[in-house]
Symmetry: C2
Subunit: 414 residues, 2 copies
């Protein structure tokens, strides 16, 4: 393929494409990014048993798209979800209300394709999941951030934003919330705020997109009912995932939605179904094991969080501020105001430490400028300690904080 | 959720959405549609052994997105593909040239998102895969059909179309072809025509999108080199799939493309990776077994095709005309001119027989109006015979053909 002049695709590319990807160069030595989980907690033996059983029983069905279970996905997985969602989130739904998708990112895409056009407005938590924010940006949608406090989205701010938009003749297309282990702040929206959000949703005719991807990973196992469960008028689209509870490389998520939305999303889901083997193994494994697997997983995650917080206290002292999250796999950290985490990100990466700079996880770039997200599920306890020490070293070199004396003092105490 | 008035999503929906999906009601009793395969030929034991081995060895990696192999997919699967593509299609590529995707439909979406804008033009085989055609329609792209003969796309017609578009100042964005077991006609494009297509591609600056999804299923195992392999200037994007060779419910396909296109498609592949377990099991199974599995599969498919052709001869006599396809899972059938296969489709479905009406598989609705596609891999030999008999009965009732005498005569001979 080397003798002729290379074909030039550039003149054929339409306007508005994202920048081309760079070649992948591997994970950082100390990786605190991405929703990766703890490799030691993948239930390998259970998955082997499950996949063996389900393939021997139903493997021939792989010859048929969707295993002949229709475009909403493998029925036993949807049936498991109806029981799980009832038990854990007080959601009363049937298998017909559930659509299995290729990870919750496909759920976001389907909801967005169904509801959004360029120029539309969405209300979104000010600090939020980067993947959701990037999607809205790419679609040319105006993402209006609603400030958070330690209990999640502030309802006074939401009410004000809805009233303001109404006064300008704008109906936001949806309110996007991660109410249960908010990403990145780790809070849980109290039931009273959920009820208030529903009241506002009804008053202004704006549906709620409830992203509950992290809701399984609560330290004390206590969670309020899902907003979907509290709704009395079908105004909520609920999405979830097995990425955080079982394994992210299995690309399996789900949507619970009224048929009016479901039928539109199905018309847009032109992928001939999501991966069947992953659905089969999840259904077979989760039906008997999910309820015991998840508490074990969260205990391990909580221990890693403790290691991370200890390491931050040791290495950063009072320079690192954070609230203890209610669950999950990430910690949202505030560094001194003079630290620019976008610059810190570059310098840290060069030193083998990957972090999520705050501005990529917020609609308020100034507020988030000295903040960062640290994911703690994937690195080992030792990697967490070493990585935080390396990060502190880079931060000190680039921004003069944390002061070395604080570090030495903390180390001596440890 | 029943006491309040139901939330009305309708005012929020943007213009141009496809019609909502209907509730799924199951497969037809006699289903000759969809790219389903033969359930008896799913290598269940081999898949069980493969998934057990790979999970025990690498299952912990499921905790990391993409198994830490990067966004192009599981490296052993890409390495298997480099060997397979070299052996079967004369393609010389490295693992870095391959992107694993969630079925070849995602490949089509990524190519389309990278190259197409509303109002663009694509040259496409006049009879072609419905999924490709529907995508172009949905994107507002002008799909210009190039007529076929029994050796595939006619190069005189392609040359004329390219010259005509050039004279009007239009550069088509790509030439879409299914050169090896064309869908739905089952032909194989000879090497001379492949060379001519490449010459035209270079002359007019129009790249080629080579969809080789069915290329593994050739009765005699003989295939020309892929167009990608013959190109000397990187002007070809090659896509393939494991749907036809292993199992369609595993959603695993691939793209081979120059980095200039690959880097653009990677930037648009925002799904956090395709399903890892399906990639793992395919790599583990295919490396030792693909080369023996596929000939066994195709022998079985050829036997089903024979049953289908016999049944058509028996039930339709001279009313059903067809060419014997070179391989694959479908037969393209011409009925008498007075048969409207869109109407036949509705009447047959009511009688429990699902067919693909020709106009859905062609840019030339008139030419395809009395044609239909029959997929034969999924139904059993008995279902094929019964289904064709039922179809003939419906066709006779609705359109007066085939004549009953022909049918009786044929049955007596059988």
């Amino acid at each position: 393929m080397s003798t002729a002049a290379r074909f030039d695709f550039a003149p054929l590319l339409p306007a508005g494409l994202p920048a081309p990807a760079a070649r992948w160069t591997g994970l950082a030595k100390y990786s605190f990014v991405g929703g990766n989980n703890d490799p030691d907690q993948v239930p390998v033996d259970g998955l082997v048993d499950a996949v063996t059983a389900v393939l021997r029983r139903e493997g021939r069905a792989l010859a048929t798209y969707n295993l002949a279970h229709g475009p909403q996905g493998y029925l036993p997985l949807r049936e498991f979800l109806t029981k799980k969602l009832k038990r854990d989130a007080a959601i009363d739904c049937s298998a017909d209300d559930i659509l299995i998708v290729s990870g919750s990112l496909q759920a976001l895409d389907l909801v967005n394709q169904t509801l959004l056009a360029r120029g539309d407005t969405v209300l979104i938590e000010q600090e939020t999941y980067q993947g959701s924010l990037n999607r809205l940006t790419r679609l040319g949608v105006n993402a209006v951030g609603i400030p958070l406090d330690d209990q999640g989205m502030r309802m006074d701010a939401l009410a004000a934003a809805l009233a303001d938009h109404k006064s300008r003749g704008i109906t936001p297309k949806y309110i996007y919330t991660i109410p249960t282990v908010q990403n990145p702040t780790g809070s849980i929206l109290p039931e009273t705020r959920r009820a208030e959000m529903l009241r506002l949703s009804q008053q202004y005719g704006v549906p709620i997109l409830e992203d509950d991807c992290y809701a399984d990973l609560i330290w004390n196992g206590q969670r309020p009912p899902a907003i979907y469960a509290m709704a009395r008028n079908n105004s909520v689209i609920h999405i979830g995932s097995f990425s955080k509870s079982i394994a992210p490389a299995l690309r399996v998520g789900f949507i619970v939605a009224p048929w009016e939305m479901m039928s539109r999303m199905l018309a847009l889901k032109t992928d001939a179904g999501s991966g069947a083997l992953e659905q089969m193994v999840l259904a077979e494994y989760c039906a008997p094991h999910f309820a015991t697997h998840v508490p074990k997983l969260t205990r391990g995650l909580r221990a890693k969080l403790d290691t991370l917080m200890e390491a931050l206290n040791e290495q950063f002292g009072t320079s690192a501020e954070f609230e203890v999250p209610a669950g999950g796999i990430f910690l949202w950290v505030k560094l001194p105001d003079n630290v620019d985490t976008l610059k810190l990100y570059q310098a840290a990466l060069a030193a083998g430490v990957a972090i999520n700079p705050g501005p990529e996880w917020s609609t308020n770039k100034a507020h988030a400028g000295s903040r960062l997200r640290l994911c703690f599920a994937s690195p080992s306890h030792q990697q967490i300690r070493e990585g935080v020490a390396a990060l502190a070293e880079v931060c000190r070199r680039e921004f003069g904080v944390p002061a070395r004396s604080a570090n030495v003092e903390k180390q001596a105490r440890a």
